[in-house]
Symmetry: C2
Subunit: 84 residues, 2 copies
């Protein structure tokens, strides 16, 4: 099994209310050095297959289900599981 | 400004219903090679300060607001913004 981490973030042009709320909360707690805050998703998948198969399939999964490409971007990292 | 990415994931022992639902949906779409799926958060912060100040402050932010340490783990990466 190979572990893949998919990082999904809102496009720059899309307003992120959750990020704005988090920034305001951090300021209220005294973290005044915080500028912009954006909240995204991290999806960890355990996958079977070779690295090149996995790369193709993860793009397919992102397009089919994991990512809303109208408002979101994604990138992913493939890492071998120790002991394989 | 320095960009920091905080990755928050559920502890291994905590059930992740969102991950299970995502796994089931991927299987229904024909992605049968998918094993375990876990969903976490990625929080991107723009911060002022030196790297060592930032490291201390991000730990404080995670403890104060960003992470529920009872059920979640976190790690973060500090990256310089290009052109600084």
């Amino acid at each position: 099994m190979t572990k893949v981490q998919v990082f999904v973030s809102l496009r720059e042009s899309v307003v992120d209310p959750q990020g704005i709320a988090t920034k305001d909360a951090l300021h209220k707690l005294g973290f005044d050095e915080v500028g912009n805050v954006r909240i995204g998703k991290m999806i960890e998948l355990d996958l079977a297959g070779t690295n090149s198969e996995i790369e193709t399939r993860v793009h397919e999964m992102c397009n089919a289900l994991l990512v809303n490409k109208v408002i979101e971007n994604y990138r992913f990292e493939i890492e071998e599981v120790a002991g394989k």
